[in-house]
Every structure is written in structure tokens, then in C-alpha cells.
């Protein structure tokens, strides 16, 4: 049993963690402006599809990433318009966004590529594996930290940038204020609507990149519903990490590890269906630790309950 834990498991954890981490960071932005975004799953799916479309028609990976980010940004604006402008219930809108994402990508898969289920093209290039010069040559660490897709490094950088944004910048400070007490934020003249749109848009971009990592980083293909619950796992990671970028980093790594182990266990003649349950069992287990915690602020929720 012990030989499932080796350096390549760590390496595959880092690869697996990327979509979850990016989406969870995006989710935390929404949580910080007081919006519980259950539509992450739909965002990721749209991002994954847009990345494949971009790659197929432009042949450029960079344009593919750009398209994934841009299309998901537009998609997130729809979510923003419904929740911020029309003040629709965010859970209902989030669920609708998930189904819309699933239906839309399935439909466009047939309309654009004329296939059902999955689209694969052997001429299509996936994201390159970056061999980082000095790092790569370090024994033991080298193979673990080097040789990942650029999005892997982007996701870790995003956690650090988001930390600086929340706790060092004025805009981040105000974003947190909106989520903590929107009425108070309005009373001092903060433009809460603009801050909420800002957070939702950034969430869209991050989720778009998460999708691109799925369809271009780990494999080079699109399958229907390929987000496979990662949006919801990201949601749990966000809550477990208390919407703090480093907390999210830690909890995402945990889920990434479970993902990697579940794949590894398939090599031990365990049924796939069984091993695939692992991340979701952890999700349910995590809920026990989350009982009274939530989207970042205990005190805020207690106060609003009064």
C-alpha cells in the first residue's frame, strides 16, 4: 500500500489541485462581497469548452487561454447581472448557471464540432510542460516542482496575489467590507455594485483558467460535464479555507491529494467507481468541521443573525 505515496503522487497532486485552487480563489472573491457562488461548476465547464474552441480554431495556446478567460468572464457577468442587478437569489441563479453551462457546452459541442460526448483532435496541442531551468535540476524536488503546465504556476501565484489584494490594497479592503456589512459599506459611500461586479468578473477569469487547465493541461480534449463536481469541491475548499487565500491553498492541496490518490488507487485493481468517490467522501467529512463556519466571517454572520 505504501508505494502509492511517492514523489510522482505529489507531482500529480500539484497538477490536480490547479483547477480546484483557481476556482476556489474565484469563489472566495464572490464570498468576500457577500455572494455565495454555487455556479463555479458551470463557470469551469464553460472555460474548459472555450479553451478547446480557441485552441482548435486559432491553433494558439495563448489565444485559447485568453478566450477561455474572456468567455467565462462574460458568462460570470450574466451571473452578476442576475444576482447584483436583479437581486435574484444567488443559490437559484448559481444552480441555473450550472445547468446552463452544461447544456450550452453540450449543444455547442454538436453545433461546432458535430460530435457527441467528447471532442478530441490529435493535431491539437495541450499546454506545454514548463521545465524550469534551475529548479528542474534539484534532486527530488526538481521533478515535483518542475514540468507542470503554466497554469499550475499561475494558480499558486494567484493565491499570493489574492492575499496581497485582500490584505494590502485599498480595493481589497473595500471588497472585504462589502461582504462583511453591505449596508455599512453603502452608508460610507462605497460603490458596492461596482465592487461586486469586480469580484464576480475576477472569479469568472479564474474559473475560466481552471477550465482551461482541465481541457488543455491535464488532457487535450473536451468531454461533456468534464468539470465533474470540481466546482463544488472548490466551494468546499473555499469554505474550509475560510475564504483566506492561504487557507484555500491548504484545503485545495488536500482535495488535490485525494484526487491524485483516487487515480493512483485505480492501479490497485480497485473499482474506478469506488476510488473516484474519495474526494467526495472527504468533502462530506470536511462538512463536519465546517458546521458553524462559513464564508469568511463568523462574527459577521452572528451579527446579521440578530
Amino acid at each position: 500500500m505504501l508505494d502509492i505515496f511517492d514523489s510522482s503522487l505529489v507531482s500529480s497532486t500539484i497538477r490536480m489541485v490547479t483547477p480546484i485552487l483557481l476556482a476556489a480563489l474565484g469563489g472566495s472573491l464572490c464570498a468576500r462581497v457577500g455572494i455565495f457562488n454555487v455556479g463555479l461548476e458551470g463557470f469551469i465547464l464553460v472555460g474548459a469548452f472555450a479553451a478547446i474552441v480557441g485552441n482548435h480554431f486559432t491553433g494558439s495556446l495563448w489565444l485559447a487561454l485568453l478566450l477561455a478567460a474572456f468567455v467565462t468572464l462574460l458568462f460570470s457577468l450574466l451571473f452578476g447581472y442576475m444576482t447584483v442587478h436583479l437581486r435574484a437569489n444567488e443559490i437559484v441563479v448559481g444552480v441555473a448557471i450550472n445547468f446552463l453551462g452544461l447544456g450550452l457546452t453540450t449543444f455547442l459541442l454538436r453545433a461546432i464540432f458535430g460530435v457527441k460526448g467528447a471532442f478530441y483532435d490529435k493535431d491539437m496541442q495541450g499546454l506545454p510542460q514548463l521545465q524550469i531551468p534551475v529548479l528542474h535540476d534539484i534532486p527530488l524536488l526538481g521533478p515535483i516542482l518542475s514540468g507542470h503546465s503554466p497554469l499550475v504556476y499561475v494558480s499558486f501565484a494567484a493565491a499570493i496575489l489574492l492575499y496581497l489584494f485582500y490584505y494590502r490594497s485599498v480595493t481589497g479592503f473595500r471588497v472585504r467590507a462589502v461582504g462583511m456589512n453591505a449596508t455599512a459599506a453603502k452608508s460610507i459611500g462605497l460603490n458596492t455594485v461596482r465592487l461586486q461586479y469586480l469580484a464576480i468578473s475576477l472569479c469568472g477569469i479564474l474559473c475560466g483558467l481552471a477550465g482551461a487547465q482541465l481541457s488543455l493541461g491535464q488532457v487535450t480534449m473536451f468531454t461533456e460535464g468534464m468539470a465533474a463536481g470540481r466546482g463544488f469541491i472548490a466551494l468546499v475548499a473555499m469554505m474550509l479555507g475560510q475564504s483566506h487565500p492561504f487557507g484555500i491553498l491548504a484545503s485545495s492541496l488536500l482535495f488535490g491529494l485525494m484526487d491524485a490518490i483516487s487515480i493512483r488507487l485505480q492501479g490497485f485493481s480497485l473499482p474506478t467507481q469506488f476510488t473516484a468517490m474519495l474526494p467526495y467522501i472527504l468533502t462530506i467529512a470536511a462538512m463536519f468541521f465546517l458546521k458553524d463556519r462559513g464564508m469568511g466571517s463568523n462574527r459577521a454572520s452572528q451579527q446579521s443573525g440578530r
Binding site: 485599498v170 479592503f173 472585504r176 456589512n181 459611500g189 440578530r306
Partner: protein, 509 residues
């Protein structure tokens, strides 16, 4: 004293309803100007117009002689008008300094300069002698300190005219006197203060001039030195206040017997420590104490909302220790809870549905599993009439009622149960003088009928006016009992602070 702010002939109309009609006030620099009136008299509407939250139907606002019109609060802030809201507009997870500078954060190199924020907050606090600790997290500060942060925030934004909306409603007596001192300091520094309140003692203590509103109109504009609390009350209510009806001496059998009750979380200091007392038929027992000394827990223990670890609670000779709320209420208890929003009402539901809560099980109001709403509406209509609850209809959302009116609804509901025992926690918090009179009268009538009442209040005047006996709580214990005859404000205050009530300040063992 030059006139800094003038509001001329302000009128605000909502449909058919005139919230303000031809209201004019003038406030000078360095003046504390109190605006008093009952709930719904139009104080808040007037201030919302000044703060840019409502557009006046007609009227004119002059700042330093120049006409202005504000598009929103941020516009008002830019013109030097700041408001300290009744419900604080603060952020619990931020530090005190962050709460003060938010919206106008000092920056360095594009980043939030927290060191400068800290320094600015400290300097401001020293300049106006308002004690706060800038590094503390706001959510861990006392209510009094949070309010000081709110005032500093307004000062930081550069306010010259400061509106304080019911600022003393949430404070302890000690914090109130500190706040009044702060208000004087600010006035001496040349700020104009608009104080909205209906507590007349405070007005007499701190205000220079007073404008009285009733039904949206000015019924009096006087200098504090030329008037008295009685005259103000008359101007507010439009008639002389009635004296509370005669009390009859009529203490009966014990009704509620609390014996050696202790409530304690594991290995922590007990929140209730060996509490014993009794409430008899035909008696009002008042519990005084600085809030947070076990009063809330005691009420929760008696009403079944929280479990006790030892001791017994007997109601009408039935042991109700740690029984369910429903059973205790059935045995004969009604409860006016201290926090009307948290325990007392469902804000999103209608007035009628809120009134129905607790009655839904009674046979008179239900047939099988179906609630008989028709019968009930007569009763609710009667309550609305008796307690003069201002609501557009019984189908209005309870959350749309003002705090005072919601309180009256809850009082009516709980009194309507006609139970032998009533727990009344802060029964008049946030209600106006007229309603306070009605509620006090109703409590006294209930007592005179032979029912028992346990009254918890942070207003000593209320305790003194109503109670037959007064118990004082300090750190989870009952540290003193005073009869109606021997109780004075001084004696109670001493006990509340942990002293023995005989003049020494030593804590009781």
C-alpha cells in the same frame, strides 16, 4: 454663535401620508440641538433628508447661508454632514483604526497605509478625548466603544455637523454619561450636534436648544434653560402624562421559585451562580444589573431556552427545570424577550403571523391542523388599537414596523396570553413615552390582577417605577435585594458595580 445649518419649511410626503410638514430648524456652530418626539413623529425622516437619504418634497436646506441639495450620503459627507446611525455602520472583523478610515483610506504606493491609518486614528482620538484602542478588532469591543468608533469615523470624514440617531438606546448608564461628556467636548470644539432622542433627562442635561416634533410638525422650539422635562413630555405627547395607577399591597402565594440555580459551561466561570429567589402572585420583581451579568441567562433558564446544570425552577408548583419551552409556556409563562429581532419576531413575516406565534396551538385558534385566521384577526385588531401600533395593515411585513412598534406588538402578544407569570425583559426598549406609559400601565394592571411579573431592565427609572422588590445581579449572582421603600438609584448603582450597597465598593465574596 453663527447659524451653520438651516432647514426651512421641510415637507416630506409619502403618498397620502405627511411625514414632515413645514418643519424648520436652525443650528449654530458649537450648539447641541436636540430633536425630540415620539416614534413616528418624523425625527428620522427629517434627518434622512438632511443626510441625503431622502429627497424632500419641498423645503430648503442652507449650509452657512448657501442652499444645498444632497444626492446621497456621500454627498452629505463631502459637505461636512455626518451621521452616527442607531444601528452601527461598522465592520466587525476590521480593527478600530480600519473602521475609522474606511472610504478615505490613507495610501502609500497604491497600497493601504495601515501605519498611517493607525496614527491618524490615534491622533483624532486624542484630539477629541474619545478613548479607543485603534489596534483592537471591532467585534471584540464593547457597544460603547463601537459607538465611539462610529463618532470618530464621522469626525475623520470631516464632519462639522454630526447627527446622532438615538445614541443612548443601546448604552449602559455609565456609557451614557461618558457619551454625553463627549458630546459636550465636540460642541466646545465647534461642531454642531443634532441629537435625536426621546430620553428627556439626557436632553435636559446636554442640549442647548430643543425642537419638539409631533405628527410631523414642530410643536415646540425652546432653549433648554427655559424648559423642563415635564413641559417637553407634554409637547411630545400633546397632553399631560398620567400618573401610574395606585398600587395595592397584595402579595400572594409564591408563583415562581428559583432555587440554587447554576448555569455553567464546562470548566468556565458560572454565568449563573447559585441563584435563588421567588416571584409571588401580585408582585413585580425587578432585576437590575449592568447587562451581561447573568440576566439574559436567568431568563433563558426560566423560559426553557437554555439548560441549567443544577438547581430547580418551580412554576405554579410544577418542576419546570430544563423542560421544553412549549411545556413551560403551557404551565403558565409568557415572555417578552430582550432582543425583539433575535427572539421576539420573524421580520420577514406579516404582523398578523407574528402576533399568532404561540397561539397557533390553542384550541380557540385552530381546528385540527388548520389555523382559524378569521377569529384571530379580531384579536390582533384589538391589540393594534390598544397599544396604538402604527402599521399600515395586519398584513404588513413585521420588519417594516419601527422598532418601537414591533416591541408594542410583542408586548401585546405576550400580555394577551394572560399567563400567571410574565417575564418582561426590557419591555420598553426603544419605545416612545406614550407607548411606555401604556406598557407600564398594562404591566401594573396585570400585577394588580394577581399575576406575577419578573422585570429585567437596564433602565433604573423603569425598575424603580414598577418593582415591588428589586434584586441586583452581578457576575451571575444576586448580590442584593431591596424593597420598594428602601430602593434608591444610588443604592442600586452601587450594587450593580459589585459593591455591597452600604457604601463600600469592595466586591462581595
Amino acid at each position: 454663535m453663527s447659524v451653520r445649518l438651516e432647514m426651512k419649511n421641510m415637507t416630506k410626503r409619502y403618498g397620502q401620508f405627511l411625514a414632515n410638514e413645514g418643519v424648520s430648524i436652525a443650528v449654530g456652530a458649537g450648539e447641541v440641538h436636540a430633536i425630540v418626539g415620539e416614534n413616528g413623529a418624523g425625527k428620522t425622516t427629517l434627518m434622512r433628508m438632511l443626510y441625503g437619504m431622502e429627497e424632500p418634497t419641498s423645503g430648503e436646506i442652507l449650509l452657512d447661508g448657501k442652499p444645498v441639495s444632497f444626492r446621497g450620503p456621500d454627498d452629505a459627507i463631502r459637505h461636512g454632514v455626518g451621521m452616527v446611525h442607531q444601528h452601527f455602520m461598522l465592520f466587525p472583523d476590521f480593527t478600530v483604526a480600519e473602521n475609522i478610515v474606511i472610504g478615505y483610506e490613507p495610501k502609500r504606493g497604491g497600497f493601504f497605509d495601515r501605519a498611517k491609518a493607525m496614527a491618524d486614528a490615534t491622533a483624532l482620538a486624542e484630539r477629541y478625548r474619545i478613548p479607543v484602542s485603534p489596534t483592537a478588532v471591532l467585534g471584540e469591543c464593547s457597544i460603547g466603544e463601537q459607538q465611539r468608533v462610529e463618532i470618530l469615523k464621522v469626525l475623520y470624514q470631516g464632519a462639522e455637523i454630526i447627527i446622532l440617531d438615538e445614541p443612548t438606546a443601546v448604552l449602559t448608564p455609565m456609557e451614557v454619561s461618558e457619551l454625553l461628556a463627549t458630546i459636550r467636548t465636540l460642541a466646545e470644539a465647534g461642531k454642531s450636534i443634532l441629537l435625536i432622542t426621546h430620553k428627556l433627562q439626557e436632553v435636559m442635561e446636554v442640549a442647548d436648544r430643543i425642537t419638539v416634533l409631533r405628527g410631523g410638525k414642530v410643536t415646540g422650539a425652546v432653549a433648554a434653560k427655559d424648559t423642563s422635562a415635564e413641559e417637553l413630555a407634554r409637547l411630545m405627547v400633546g397632553r399631560d402624562l398620567e400618573q401610574l395607577s395606585e398600587r395595592t399591597e397584595q402579595r400572594g402565594e409564591p408563583l415562581l421559585v428559583v432555587h440554587q440555580v447554576t448555569m455553567q459551561e464546562k470548566k468556565k466561570k458560572p454565568v449563573l451562580d447559585q441563584v435563588s429567589f421567588a416571584v409571588h402572585h401580585g408582585e413585580i420583581v425587578g432585576i437590575a444589573g449592568v447587562s451581561g451579568n447573568g440576566q439574559s441567562e436567568l431568563l433563558q433558564a426560566i423560559s426553557g431556552l437554555a439548560a441549567v446544570q443544577s438547581g430547580t425552577i418551580r412554576l405554579k408548583d410544577t418542576d419546570v427545570t430544563n423542560r421544553t419551552v412549549a411545556l413551560i409556556r403551557e404551565t403558565g409563562l409568557a415572555h417578552i424577550p430582550e432582543d425583539r429581532y433575535f427572539w421576539g419576531a420573524a421580520k420577514e413575516e406579516t404582523v398578523a403571523e407574528n402576533a399568532l406565534m404561540g397561539y397557533h396551538r390553542l384550541p380557540a385558534f385552530s381546528r385540527g391542523i388548520i389555523i382559524q385566521r378569521k377569529w384571530f384577526h379580531h384579536l390582533v385588531a384589538a391589540w393594534i388599537e390598544r397599544f396604538a401600533i402604527k402599521t399600515s395593515s395586519a398584513h404588513e411585513k413585521a420588519g417594516n414596523l419601527s422598532g418601537g412598534n414591533l416591541q408594542k406588538l410583542i408586548v401585546a402578544r405576550e400580555m394577551g396570553r394572560e399567563t400567571p407569570l410574565l417575564l418582561a425583559a426590557e419591555p420598553t426598549r426603544g419605545v416612545d413615552i406614550g407607548a411606555m406609559e401604556t406598557i407600564h400601565q398594562a404591566l401594573l394592571e396585570k400585577r394588580n390582577k394577581g399575576d406575577g411579573i419578573l422585570l429585567v431592565s437596564s433602565e433604573l427609572s423603569e425598575i424603580l417605577a414598577l418593582s415591588d422588590r428589586i434584586l441586583v445581579m452581578f457576575e451571575g449572582r444576586i448580590v442584593g435585594e431591596l424593597s420598594r421603600a428602601e430602593a434608591t438609584e444610588e443604592k442600586i448603582s452601587m450594587l450593580m458595580a459589585g459593591g455591597r450597597g452600604d457604601g463600600s465598593t469592595q466586591a462581595t465574596a
